[in-house]
């Protein structure tokens, strides 16, 4: 409080030894002290109870309540102590100029540039060598070191595990026969041997009983009403998991993009910019559903060299 002693008030003038700012805010300090003690006793009681419950086991609610009440007691007590049993103020502090004086700046610049020039300029060749060394290390850090974090994308994003003749299987690895799905039914399927794979996940929908053509050029892709689309949303890559049978639409639960099942999964609503890639299906001689070929375009969200 030394910096503020020059502030005088009328009361201080009457009794020069008494600074009214040092008075307490509390009118009855003794009572306040008892109240604060009570708060701290609440804290002690709660923390002791916590120790007991730690040994005996308890519920999260009891633990939370005791901890909240314990710290609440300490908190209220401390705030009251700081507010009512401390000099009430107000106190004042002067601001000083933040920046250095002109002399200091000049002295600094002289030291930095003056001495620095002697040290550095005459040794510019050493400086260049040092720069070269750090540059090489920088390139090493950004190149090989960073690159070993993961493989080069290459064409990993262009294709999936689906290929010609891949058997369509459930998430438990069971092959699917043509009678397994009723009209209106749908399930998540994978290429045989890649169950659970991210980019292989595909929605198998039975939208009818006769062959379905979703767009010209896909005449044979939907045998006996079976349609298969990549389950990976073309917007943000979420798994599309809602099939609305009445409207023949697929809904992505993340950002609510809607795709029209009967028209090549063309997006009809929401942020998805492209249709879901369609997997051409066929039915083999044993009645199992297989893929005629893999997807003819990358699945999932867009990227630079899409």
């Amino acid at each position: 409080m030394t910096s503020t002693e020059q502030v005088q008030t009328s009361e201080a003038a009457i009794d020069p030894t008494r600074d009214p700012r040092l008075d307490l805010l509390a009118k009855k300090p003794d009572q306040m002290e008892k109240l604060i003690a009570l708060c701290f006793i609440v804290g002690i009681a709660c923390f002791v109870a916590m120790m007991v419950f730690y040994v005996r086991g308890s519920s999260t609610q009891v633990e939370g309540a005791l901890m909240a009440a314990g710290f609440g007691g300490l908190g209220v007590g401390m705030v009251a102590w700081g507010k009512y049993l401390m000099p009430k103020g107000p106190f004042e502090e002067e601001r000083h100029q933040i920046g250095s004086t002109e002399e200091d700046r000049k002295a600094f610049a002289d030291a930095f540039i003056g001495r620095g020039t002697i040290a550095v300029k005459r040794r510019s060749f050493l400086g260049k060598l040092l720069g070269l060394a750090t540059a090489i290390f920088g390139i090493f850090s950004l190149g090989p070191l960073l690159d070993s974090l993961g493989p080069n994308p290459g064409n990993a994003l262009d294709s999936t595990a689906w290929k010609k003749g891949s058997k369509v299987v459930t998430e438990h690895g069971r092959a699917i026969k043509v009678d397994d799905l009723e009209v209106g039914g749908f399930m998540t399927v994978f290429p045989e041997g890649n169950v659970g794979s991210y980019d292989g996940q595909t929605l198998l929908i039975r939208a009818g009983t006769s062959d379905i053509v979703t767009m010209p050029g896909r005449e044979s892709w939907g045998p006996q009403g079976y349609l298969a689309y990549s389950k990976v949303c073309t917007h943000a890559g979420c798994p599309i998991s809602l099939y609305q049978q009445e409207t023949e639409q697929l809904l992505c639960p993340c950002h609510q993009s809607l795709f029209n099942v009967l028209q090549a999964a063309e997006p009809v609503f929401g942020p998805a910019p492209r249709p879901l890639p369609q997997l051409p299906l066929a039915i083999d001689k044993n009645g199992y559903i297989i893929a005629q070929a893999g997807y003819n375009e990358p699945i999932g969200p867009g990227y630079w060299n899409f």
Binding site: Y54, G57, T60, Q61, E63, G64, A65, M67, A68, F71, G72, L74, G75, V76, G77, M78, V79, W81, G82, K83, M86, P87, G89, P90, F91, E92, E93, E94, R95, I98, G150, P151, N152, P153, A156, L157, E171, T188, G196, S197, D199, Q201, K231, H235, A236, G237, P239, P253, C254, Q256, F269, P271, A272, P273, R274, P301, G302, Y303, W304, N305
Partner: protein, 531 residues
């Protein structure tokens, strides 16, 4: 032999021991001079200065509870069979990360309390930062010389959001896994380097080779918190160096700070405040369930849940993703994907504007002076309305992240909700900014010290039945005073005043009410209205 020691050395009192200890330290560190200045640091007494403290103390709780959680969390994507005490999941395949999070929730003593406190502390940390930032913005506390501390603060906000997302993703549950997949797509959408960055982060094409969880763990518990601790230190050091701002008021100037000194008043109060923040977080952790991952289940890349919403501070980005039109730009064999605009460009622009705002404002308003007195928001309607508009924009984006929930709750078409947000997100901020500007002007007119909009008129009737309409003396804050169009104070003639006095005696008006009347004129009549 203790008895001998006692003889040789007289017993010291506690105070003597403390003095000797302090002397020992000061001989080596020389802290007394600086320490005294530090103890005298003044903290202004205004409630809005506590918002940053909430953030600071939530951060402390995050560090402490986070250390507890690292004792039990296993950062691994290895699959194993769950044998813990949560019956519905017994025997299912879960990752080691998910398994350990379940163990923290059900099998570690106080584990669920601490886990939920940690999550609540993160949400409240970022909430407090956001509100603290609003306080700093709307009062102009970021102006010279505090631009650097504003930048440190914005950086802390960005790091806080990032670390929140990382921590949210660590349990490997169904909802956080979906969020992580969206993050892969976001990184992938960056032109030129996107796929490389995504493959580096995840160790390959999504879902990667299992490195993402240990990598996120390292970032979440080590790298990002270390940077944040350093920046919090810098934030506080700058605050001490540059001293606090304060609102103007009696005795407060650009040259001083008025309030409570660091020692002992502020230290006691702020310590208590820390305990109160812990108490609230413990109450929330014990009673308000948050992120019940056992209900979501283990993440599998082909599974998803309904109502996939991130934590609140990511909501604006999720909302931006939802209301983005289905555009994608493909040219010369290269694509700028849809996600790039809402998920990379929008936050990139937003955070960059935040960072450079002090310099934009200084340039636009040509105000390069030092400011230590805060502005009231109304006194700078230009800035206040821009801030309010920006807040409205972010709030609309945030609300748009719940389009599906809103449509379900109000039983209206999702289509309608989406189209509403696609337009309203851009229109409403302008309305909010305009209304805010108007409100600022109105509040300014109210005056600084609670004056009234218009000067009072007093209607008086004499005993004879004559009426007078008189304006009361001008007071600070009156509209005509503020606008500088103050009318000449009206004064009554001695004759009229005398009449009023007589009549008021007749009708029994008290003397205090009479005192409110303008004093009898002694400089002649200026103007008297008489009807």
């Amino acid at each position: 032999m203790p008895s001998l020691l006692k003889k040789d050395k007289p017993k010291q009192t506690g105070a003597e021991k403390a003095t000797a200890g302090a002397k020992w330290l000061d001989d080596r560190l020389g802290l007394a001079k600086g320490g005294r200045v530090f103890f005298n640091k003044i903290f202004p007494d205004h409630w809005s200065f506590m918002l940053g403290e909430i953030a600071l103390y939530s951060f402390v709780v995050l560090l402490v509870t986070g250390v507890f959680l690292t004792l039990y969390y296993v950062p691994s994507a290895d699959m194993l069979t769950y044998h813990g005490s949560y019956a519905p999941l017994k025997g299912t395949q879960v990752s080691a990360a998910y398994n350990s999070t379940l163990a923290i929730s059900f099998d570690v003593r106080f584990g669920l309390l601490v886990r939920q406190m940690h999550h609540w502390a993160a949400d409240i940390f970022l909430g407090a930062i956001a509100v603290h930032m609003c306080r700093v913005f709307f009062t102009g506390a970021f102006r010279r010389p505090r631009e650097l501390n504003w930048i440190v603060g914005v950086t802390l906000l960005i790091l806080g959001i990032s670390n929140g997302f990382l921590g949210y993703s660590l349990p490997d549950d169904l909802i956080s896994g979906t969020g992580l997949r969206i993050m892969f797509s976001v990184v992938e959408s960056i032109p030129v380097v996107g796929t490389h960055l995504a493959f580096w982060l995840f160790g390959g094409n999504y879902p990667g080779n299992g490195v993402i969880i240990p990598r996120m763990f390292m970032l979440h518990v080590l790298l990002v918190p270390a940077i944040m601790v350093a920046l919090v230190g810098a934030h506080l050091a700058l605050l001490v160096k540059q001293k606090h701002t304060q609102f103007s008021g009696p005795g407060k100037t650009e040259k001083n700070v008025v309030g409570t000194p660091m020692w002992p008043g502020f230290m006691f109060k702020t310590q208590g405040y820390f305990f109160l923040v812990v108490a609230v977080l413990a109450g929330l952790g014990g009673w308000a369930q948050i992120n019940p991952i056992w209900q979501y289940g283990q993440y599998f890349p082909y599974k998803v849940s309904y109502a996939v919403q991130p934590d609140w501070y990511m909501g604006w980005l999720d909302g931006a993703l939802r209301i983005m039109p289905s555009w994608e730009f493909q040219n010369f064999g290269y694509m700028i994907p849809n996600m790039f605009f809402p998920a990379v460009l929008l936050p990139g622009i937003a955070f960059n504007i935040f960072i450079v705002w002090p310099f934009i404002e200084a340039k636009v308003r040509k105000d390069y002076k030092e400011h230590h007195l805060l502005e009231r928001p109304r006194d700078n309607p230009w800035r206040t309305s821009i801030g309010a508009g920006a807040l409205a924009f972010f709030f609309m984006l945030f609300a748009a992240s719940s389009t599906d929930v809103l449509a379900n709750y109000f039983n209206i078409s999702l289509n309608l909700v989406l189209w509403f947000f696609r337009f309203a997100t851009y229109i409403i901020p302008f309305f909010v900014a305009g209304i805010t500007y108007k409100i600022c002007l109105e509040l300014q007119a109210l005056g600084r010290y609670g004056g009234r909009r218009k000067r009072f008129n007093v209607v008086l009737r004499t005993a004879e039945g004559e009426y007078f309409s008189e304006k009361t003396p001008a007071r600070p804050g009156d509209l005509d005073v503020l606008s500088g169009e103050e009318e000449e104070p009206l004064e009554l003639t001695e004759e009229v005043s005398e009449k009023i006095r007589e009549s008021s005696e007749l009708i029994g008006v008290s003397s205090t009410e009479l005192n409110k009347l303008p004093p009898p004129a002694d400089q002649g009549v200026k103007r008297v209205e008489r009807d």
